[in-house]
Symmetry: C2
Subunit: 388 residues, 2 copies
């Protein structure tokens, strides 16, 4: 098991670290600890640079490792659609470091507002733009609204945090594109009730320091979060097989790559259509099921049995908007509001790794529900505080 | 309330963050949140650069603030006794950033050892030196021994973490200098039982990359932690009044500075002798009591009453060595072992701020006691991984 990080992060709750509700340690576990009982597994902290399927080696930044079978699951990263200069101005959310950076920027904006005598500049500090209204964008916009309206309500003396503007900008005609229309509508209403301004059909044309340009005008905002595009990890390109438009590896139905029956690509790095010809979504469920399937195919291959085609079993789709508010689509039935939120809490708690993390997250959610607080409001890290 | 950080850290548990037992959010609280109900308190995130008692202003890095009364409590920082080049090689433990850096270095040493084929280099990676055997040094050495002997026992495939060497280097003739001799002896025995090599009367003459020079030889060690010296914050020097050898402000018995009855200096920044002529120690109890006393004297001054001299009430002294092992000196009676450890747990839990943090820390301590694990073993932060 090669990973350039020593920990596994439960991505669906990463936004709660960015939004000061949970600590990094609550949603992450050391990979070695997860695999400590598998004595035949070796965990190495290493960064893969290239895969050479002909020589059957993974080339690291500091050496190489040969394999009999390989599963590549390096996932996706942010994509700025060719505007890499937007990256430092509008950070995305993929790692714990990203989450702590967003947390620092959001909290620092409020701190600077407290010391800002100029009303125009203060308004810019109190405007937060989230670009992209998929589940992560919706969750962050909802959380930002709750932070400003609830958690910080009593904390400042020179402005009302409730006057903050949270603007969710989406290029498409609806938020939560993967959900059925009634749930999109429910999520929109809930977000607006929280005080989020949702701008649909609104394409971002530029991100500048302190300003986001959208096609129909400019938004003055100090803090911008990117939740719009993902691109596959560059490792896929080194395989020398066809990629799709987002850089994902077009895998065979067995999850192997063309020409190599011992190299599997899964998760966000893989591109595969379901039986109806629709591409599989880049969600955790697909990655988890692909992982299991790849392992089964390796075992079948070792036993000289034919590999089987992957079939995705869609277990449903959920997104949370805020306190007691979520949408859940289980195909045969749909939930909104409080019930959907309870389902979301349950599913996410159960999918955390280890009893300790489940217990800690549960305790903190219960405390937050009672207190309306977000306790992990720490500005940490060595980024110098921006000049006021 | 001016602070250059937005959070208050409960320093006595900071080593548990460095040793991967707790998350930063468990021992820190936003200052605004602590003071949210005091409507007449204004919290500002700002860094004080100088104090000008003549003009009655605090000069910030970005502006200045005038005062009627001032309490300076900027504490202490690491002192390297004139060897500031040791600082990057042997980080100390004062802030959350320091703790995360030490955590990263300790965990990274084990990760690099797993990939190190050379036995000599691997031994250097698995040698940890703690310089200074005060409470923090003792606590860290004990925790490092537990990490290597217990928490990581099943995690590696190419070496036995139990073969790690933990060396506690102390210049003086005893560890825990502030404690009575029988407790020093108990702590020494407990540390040695954990497998810590304690070197007393051992003066560090140089810290080099991968090597610590002590007077009687060299120790090859990749990871070095500094727990030896503290120096007062440089803010005290700007007051223009006499300082002691460690740079602390020599305060009047009322905690004011000579010549200014409206400027108070407290905590680690203040130098004051008790009634027997012994200098007050730089511990939390002194700082907390001084804080209360300074406020009372300000109120008395406003009411035109004479100020009162500060008297320290010593509530006792504790240090923990590890699991079920601590020493506690309450003057009239002393505890060691399990009982001292329970007392330590209780006192530290009660002194945390807020119900949430108390509950979270208690849950994690209970889990760690049962599992022998340290769950927050995350290598995070943007320091580039050192070349193997």
């Amino acid at each position: 098991m090669l990973d350039r990080r020593n920990h596994h992060v439960f991505q669906p709750l990463l936004y709660q670290v960015a939004m000061a509700a949970l600590s990094p340690g609550d949603i992450a576990s050391p990979i070695r600890w997860i695999l400590r009982r598998q004595k035949n597994v070796e965990v190495l902290l290493a960064e893969a640079r290239l895969i050479d399927p002909k020589r059957q080696v993974v080339i690291l930044t500091d050496g190489e490792i040969s394999y009999d079978y390989l599963i590549a699951a390096t996932g996706a990263t942010h994509a700025y659609f060719g505007h890499d200069d937007w990256r430092p101005l509008a950070p995305g959310l993929k790692s714990l470091e990203d989450a702590l950076q967003i947390r620092r920027r959001v909290l620092m904006a409020f701190e600077r507002a407290e010391r800002e005598p100029d009303a125009v500049r203060r308004a810019r500090l109190l405007t937060f733009v989230v670009i992209g209204a998929g589940p992560t964008g919706v969750e962050m916009a909802g959380a930002l609204a709750e932070i400003s309206r609830q958690s910080l309500a009593r904390d400042f003396r020179h402005f009302d945090p409730g006057s903050s503007r949270i603007i969710l900008v989406e290029a498409g005609p609806a938020l939560l594109a993967a959900f059925p229309a009634p749930l999109q509508k429910a999520a929109l209403t809930d977000l607006q009730d929280l005080g989020v301004e949702v701008r649909l059909n609104s394409i971002v044309t530029d991100v500048l320091p302190g300003r986001v340009m959208v096609r129909d005008g400019a938004i003055d905002a100090e803090t911008v979060v990117w939740a719009a595009g993902v691109a596959a990890s560059p490792l896929g390109a080194s395989l020398g097989v066809p990629l799709d438009r987002a850089g994902r590896v077009e895998v065979e139905p067995e999850l192997t790559i063309p020409g190599y029956r011992n190299v599997f690509v899964i998760g966000d790095l893989a591109s595969l259509d379901d039986e109806r010809g629709k591409p599989l979504p880049g969600v955790a469920q697909v990655a988890i099921q692909m992982g299991r399937h790849a392992v089964r195919n390796i075992l079948r291959s070792i036993e000289k049995q034919p590999m089987r085609a992957f079939r995705y079993k869609d277990l449903g789709n959920m997104a949370t908007i805020g306190r007691a508010s979520a949408v859940a689509d289980f195909g045969s039935f749909r939930l909104t509001g409080y019930l959907a939120w309870l389902a979301w809490l349950f599913v996410h708690l159960m999918n955390l790794i280890g009893f300790r993390n489940r217990l800690l997250v549960m305790v903190q959610w219960a405390w937050a529900y009672v207190s309306y607080q977000r306790a992990v409001r720490l500005i940490t890290g060595d980024e110098p505080p921006p000049a006021p």
